[in-house]
């Protein structure tokens, strides 16, 4: 659906000097993301969408479906599976793959731990462990463009990320080697073994994502809406009790009405107290929120002021 900003008359739009031809902010963001998806389809051999089952990757898939309709999406999906998944999210992933006839690749952190290649961290967090399985899967499958759902509003280091982000064969991000991006002319040239991470949602904010999900009526995993859950508190966040390693001594489990603002590894993705059971309620809650999405719900970003910058350099999403 495309909504056009108001034409003449007494509405706020005409007062702002905007005519019929000004796109609404959601239409502008949608069009830009579709343009990016199509550029990749036109210029790369083996693109893949990183699909976590989180709202940003669900949104990317939705945009890809629209961009290439009525044809099939010309990308496969890649899930980096930490082994600490919310069952609702896995179920959603499998349903989406089946419904759209997609091909799913899985890079499993658990496999790497079982093989002794990766070691479980003392804090039980598996987010930083995703980088190696992801990188090796990209190399093994020779993916040359890897779509990520990262947004520049999420975090300081991401604010300087390009839409087309060049990575070397170790997936490393070098902020000084990034190419200036002018107009909408993206440069996807890369050497064999290198790949390009592509971020079609670069210019979206959390609120944009939710507004668009509501407008397009996109289905999300249930954990995004308020529900009762057994949680315990760690570092000021509500974490889900489970086999992954919580609660520990001194942490007590209680039942609370919560929802998730992001979906990641269970061990470091916190829930927030919430009564929002519908999309509209979630949007109202976000608009009124005083904390950023990552500040509220990501333990891994609290490690240090430059935590994300360091992980990005090493090849993280």
């Amino acid at each position: 659906m495309t909504t056009v900003a108001q034409i003449n008359g007494s509405g706020p739009s005409s007062e702002d000097g905007d005519s019929l031809y000004a796109l609404t902010h959601l239409d502008a963001l949608e069009s830009e993301a579709v343009h990016i998806l199509r550029e990749v389809a036109g210029e790369f051999e083996r693109p893949v969408i990183l699909f976590s089952g989180g709202k940003d990757s669900i949104l990317m898939l939705h945009l890809a479906l629209k961009a290439f309709a009525p044809a099939q999406v010309p990308f496969s999906l890649l899930h980096v599976d930490t082994g600490h998944n919310f069952p609702e999210v896995l179920e959603y992933r499998d349903r989406a793959v089946a419904a759209h006839g997609l091909r799913l690749h899985v890079a499993s952190v658990q496999d790497y731990i079982d093989r002794g290649v990766l070691k479980e961290r003392p804090d039980g967090t598996r987010n930083p462990l995703q980088t190696l399985p992801l990188t090796e899967k990209i190399q093994a499958e020779r993916f040359d463009a890897v779509f990520g759902g990262g947004r520049r509003d999420e975090e300081k280091a991401r604010a300087k990320e390009r839409v087309f982000s060049l990575r070397d064969e170790f997936s490393q991000w070098d902020p000084r080697r990034q190419r200036p991006e002018l107009w909408n002319l993206y440069n996807g040239r890369h050497a064999p073994g290198e790949h390009v991470r592509v971020f079609p949602l670069s210019n979206w904010t959390e609120l944009d994502v939710w507004q668009y999900i509501a407008r397009e009526n996109i289905e999300l995993p249930e954990i995004y809406f308020a529900h009762e859950r057994e949680v315990f508190q760690r570092s000021g966040m509500w974490l889900t009790a489970g086999e992954w390693g919580g609660p520990k001594d001194g942490e007590t489990v209680e039942k609370r009405q919560v929802r998730y603002r992001t979906v990641g590894d269970m061990s470091c993705t916190g829930a927030v107290d919430s009564d929002a059971t519908t999309l509209d309620a979630v949007i109202a809650e976000i608009a009124a929120s005083r904390l950023t999405e990552r500040g509220a719900t990501r333990a891994d970003d609290k490690l240090s002021e430059a935590a994300m910058e360091d992980r990005k350099r090493e090849g993280y999403f």
């Binding site: 905007d18 005519s19 796109l23 239409d27 502008a28 199509r38 290439f68 044809a71 440069n187 005083r290």
Partner: protein, 444 residues
């Protein structure tokens, strides 16, 4: 933040850029826009308060809100374009925050390339300096439609009207000479918050908008009647399924102007003409579509169209050429030299090309020309002549920012070398006229 239905409804989007050095208080201005528009959230502010305290400062240093990478924090500099996002009930904003030092011309050019408006800061104590002229020249070269001159640190000149008026007049005269069509000068104090978000209590002689009010109301749409319609084809959609055996759609983002069903169009470079039989706007059939919508166009005749082609109105096709003259900004560390073999990306098409000549280099401070510099190094602006391996349907950048621009790529390592704008560097100066009726006294 209060939650109202207005805030949650769809608004328009303004992309703008800021230029100015740390000394001009640019980071403070940006920090204030984010802070006073309530776009800074509690955890971000806490982080800034922590960092300010660590440095022994009293109170949060709003400039820290816009610091990014650790490398920059350690060196106290900004090395790159950072994108910021904020919203008011009236509009969403994407801000390309670029550092103002001379060695970062490329960042300013990058930020300005997608901007509809540039905010140029000057220190009220210093007035228009070389750097200000450089920033104005970049806005003019990149054809940014709207420029705001924010005369900052008014608190340090006792909020005197005469100081502001003199600076505004000098700048506006220079900007007009450069062909900048719209200049708005605003006296502010980013530190004290005067005229950034809230109107100043101390400058009652100023009757114009605050910076934020101006950002909220500046027009973001174009007069499509005077635009050449252009659709670079990105991708051919051919489902070849039982349901859609013969569907053949040409997908792309309309770069300029509008297209409608039934219109006669030409496909370049083949020059074949046909008629638009349908326009698919991301799943919805429409009769008309315009820039910057992403669409899929269906044509009446089964002609050969592929990625890199350009669909244009039959009566308004650009002249294809293999010889391009352009103003460029060199953005790579390795220099651009005469004889350099490159790839040129224009729209969705990438072709081989060679740099035939570099007639001049331009000094932005005083717009002086240095003939035959032999090479351009990073952050240089110059004129180049390029010969392409195939004819390209380029527009003049003055007519169309998207189809008049290109990038040069090093074929060996893929580096983006140069950003190019086809045609004359600067617009013809706008003759002084009084057809702007919204005269509020400070729209120079």
């Amino acid at each position: 933040m209060t939650t109202t239905t207005t805030e949650l409804s769809e608004t328009t989007l303004l992309r703008f850029a800021t230029a100015g050095s740390v000394d001009d208080g640019k980071s403070t201005l940006v920090g204030r826009l984010l802070h006073d528009s309530k776009s800074v959230l509690a955890d971000q502010l806490e982080a800034v308060e922590r960092a300010s305290a660590n440095r022994g400062q009293d109170g949060p240093d709003l400039a820290l809100l816009t610091d990014g990478l650790r490398a920059e924090r350690e060196q106290g500099i900004t090395i790159d374009v950072a994108y910021r996002y904020f919203a008011t009930p009236r509009r969403r904003f994407i801000l390309a925050d670029t550092p103002g030092h001379v060695q970062y011309t490329r960042n300013m050019v990058t930020g300005a390339s997608t901007a509809e408006l540039t905010v140029i800061l000057v220190d009220a104590r210093n007035g228009v300096v070389e750097q200000t002229r450089r920033h104005a020249a970049i806005a003019a070269l990149l054809r940014v439609p709207h420029v705001v001159l924010a005369v900052n640190k008014m608190d340090l000149v006792d909020y005197r009207e005469a100081v502001f008026a003199a600076i505004a007049e000098e700048f506006t005269a220079y900007a007009t000479e450069l062909g900048i069509p719209d200049v708005t000068a605003i006296p502010i104090s980013a530190l004290a918050g005067d005229n950034v978000v809230e109107p100043s209590a101390t400058m009652d002689w100023y009757g114009g908008p605050t910076v934020l009010e101006h950002l909220e109301t500046v027009p973001v749409s174009h007069d499509l009647a005077h635009c050449h319609a252009r659709l670079p084809v990105q991708y051919v959609i051919r489902p070849q399924t039982a349901e859609h055996p013969d569907y053949r759609g040409y997908a792309g983002q309309i770069a300029a102007g509008s297209f409608r069903v039934g219109e006669r169009v030409m496909v370049l470079p083949s020059g074949r003409t046909t008629t638009i039989s349908g326009i698919d706007l991301l799943g919805k059939p429409v009769d008309v579509a315009w820039t910057t919508q992403s669409v899929t166009i269906l044509l009446t005749d089964d002609i050969d169209v592929s990625r890199g082609d350009l669909i244009v109105p039959g009566k308004d096709a650009p002249q294809a050429t293999q010889d391009i003259e352009a103003t460029v900004c060199h953005v790579a560390d390795q220099p651009l030299t005469v004889g350099h073999r490159v790839l040129l990306k224009h729209g969705t098409r990438t072709v081989k090309a060679v740099v035939k000549d570099i007639p001049s280099r331009l000094t932005l401070d005083d717009l002086s020309l240095h003939p035959h510099p032999e090479q351009l190094v990073a952050n240089d602006i110059g004129r180049v002549k390029i010969r392409t391996a195939e004819p390209l349907p380029v527009d003049s950048y003055a007519d169309s920012r998207r189809t008049g621009s290109f990038i040069l790529i090093d074929p060996a390592d893929g580096t983006t070398l140069t950003a190019g704008m086809v045609g004359d560097s600067f617009a013809t100066p706008v003759p002084t006229h009084d057809d702007q009726t919204d005269d509020d006294g400070w729209d120079f």
